[in-house]
């Protein structure tokens, strides 16, 4: 194979790979959060910031040993939250109450921060606040939702 053929081949392969990368990869997720490191955090809901491009809600969780850790969780945009039936008042009505959050943890040494998938409320309802980050692509073609 001549050098010229190799470089053209590499160009073709690279171009293919560049565009084979799913446009669906959540833009922030892969660099900020770890889909292989997900956990359930239970605590008291303290705050909701109902804004775009992501809402953030805060939970005070008791650690083993008795101290309290303040967590910040990110959701998808409020346009998507509303379209799947998660409303602002669902959070506001539960300030001060117990919540159980399923989330994937932040990378880069950032602690007590996660991209949330679901929030289970005291009344038993579960709010959907993110995609299934732990199983991307399982529910059909994943979409770039931002």
């Amino acid at each position: 194979m001549t050098t010229r053929n190799v470089s053209w081949g590499a160009t073709v392969i690279f171009t293919f790979l560049l565009f084979a990368t799913p446009l669906s990869a959540h833009h922030a997720f892969t660099a900020e959060y770890d889909g292989t490191n997900c956990a359930t955090v239970t605590g008291t809901l303290t705050k909701i910031e109902w804004e775009n491009p992501h809402a953030y809600f805060h939970v005070d969780a008791k650690e083993t040993g008795g101290s309290v850790a303040s967590w910040a969780f990110e959701t998808v945009s409020i346009g998507w939250l509303k379209r799947v039936g998660t409303a602002r008042h669902d959070f506001e009505d539960n300030i001060g109450k117990n919540v159980t959050v399923r989330a994937c943890m932040a990378k880069n040494g950032v602690k007590n921060r996660g991209a949330a998938e679901t929030v289970k409320l005291e009344d038993g309802r579960t709010l959907t606040v993110g995609t299934d980050y732990e199983h991307p692509g399982k529910a059909g073609e994943e979409r770039n939702i931002n």
Binding site: L23, H27, N52, V84, K138
Partner: protein
């Protein structure tokens, strides 16, 4: 028939099991498996099937197809990010594969040299900058609304509350347009297809989410049609002799009709861009060592 003693044991076992399941998990439990519902069990918007054609498309009194409506990308007339049904795709890549653009070698090298952080920082979705033309119709999961009146079409965009107004009366371009995110767009009808010719697009816009930048010579030709009541079809050709070796044309991408309204979307709390800026500083710091 079981004895009373057996019933008692079964009832007791069930009670113990119920009690065990009711014990809350520890404040943080690290698990490899997902807790709670599977993606398919979670709530989602109800429609996962393609809309029917819905009859012939409407026309304005001047005879042109009326493209007005609230349109969602894909064929379901809505968007379900939880279940992501296949019908939500704008096209089937197996049926109508979309060729990648053909970059000039210098442009390909520039894209290859971008780190993951560079790629994120260049994205409109991270910066909360407008996607521009044609990004707003190529890489946008949020709905748009078209409002067509004789001689013009207004495109309202939920994402970042954007809009553009395009004359459809066949006029020429502004002779000296500023570079803008939506570019200088002028439209004319070719039969039932609205053709919008766009130049002077701000060079900060990308044509995809993976680094496809463009030059000041970029020339975009958009084609919008409405084959039936419920469907809008968008196809775009991008010419850019500085960046591409040849023009690129998308496949026909489908949008489907919704009878709701757009939401408001302003970026008022963008922590992501700060995270990436910090990462970029660290990367640059390591490079200079």
């Amino acid at each position: 028939m079981k004895s009373g003693g057996t019933y008692l044991r079964i009832t007791l076992a069930a009670a113990i099991l119920a009690w065990m399941l009711s014990i809350p998990a520890s404040a943080q439990d690290q698990g490899g498996k997902a807790a709670g519902q599977t993606a398919s069990e979670r709530k989602g918007t109800p429609n996962s099937q393609p809309l029917p054609p819905g009859g012939p498309p409407p026309r304005l009194p001047d005879g042109h197809i009326d493209l007005s409506g609230v349109w969602y990308p894909g064929t379901t007339g809505t968007f379900d990010f939880i279940n992501s049904p296949p019908a939500q795709r704008q096209f089937d890549p197996k049926a109508t594969p979309e060729a990648p653009p053909s970059f000039q070698p210098w442009a390909l090298a520039k894209i290859k040299a971008m780190s993951q952080t560079d790629l994120e920082l260049g994205k409109a979705s991270v910066n909360c900058t407008p996607r521009g033309v044609p990004g707003i119709l190529l890489n946008n999961p949020y709905p748009i609304q078209l409002v067509e009146t004789p001689g013009q079409i207004v495109q309202l965009v939920e994402l970042l509350n954007n809009f553009r107004v395009v004359p459809t009366d066949g006029r020429a371009h502004d002779p000296d347009p500023d570079s803008t995110f939506n570019g200088d767009g002028v439209g004319h009808w070719e039969g039932d297809t609205l053709v919008i010719d766009v130049i002077a697009i701000d060079e900060r816009t990308w044509n995809n989410m993976t680094g496809w930048f463009h030059s000041d010579q970029e020339h975009v030709i958009e084609r919008l049609s409405r084959p039936s009541m419920n469907y809008l079809v968008y196809q775009v050709t991008i010419e850019d002799p500085k960046v591409l070796t040849k023009p690129w044309t998308s496949v026909q991408r489908k949008w489907s009709l919704n009878h709701g309204k757009l939401d408001e979307y302003y970026c008022t709390h963008n922590e992501e861009v700060q995270q990436y800026q910090l990462l970029k500083k660290e990367e640059d710091g390591k490079k200079s060592q």
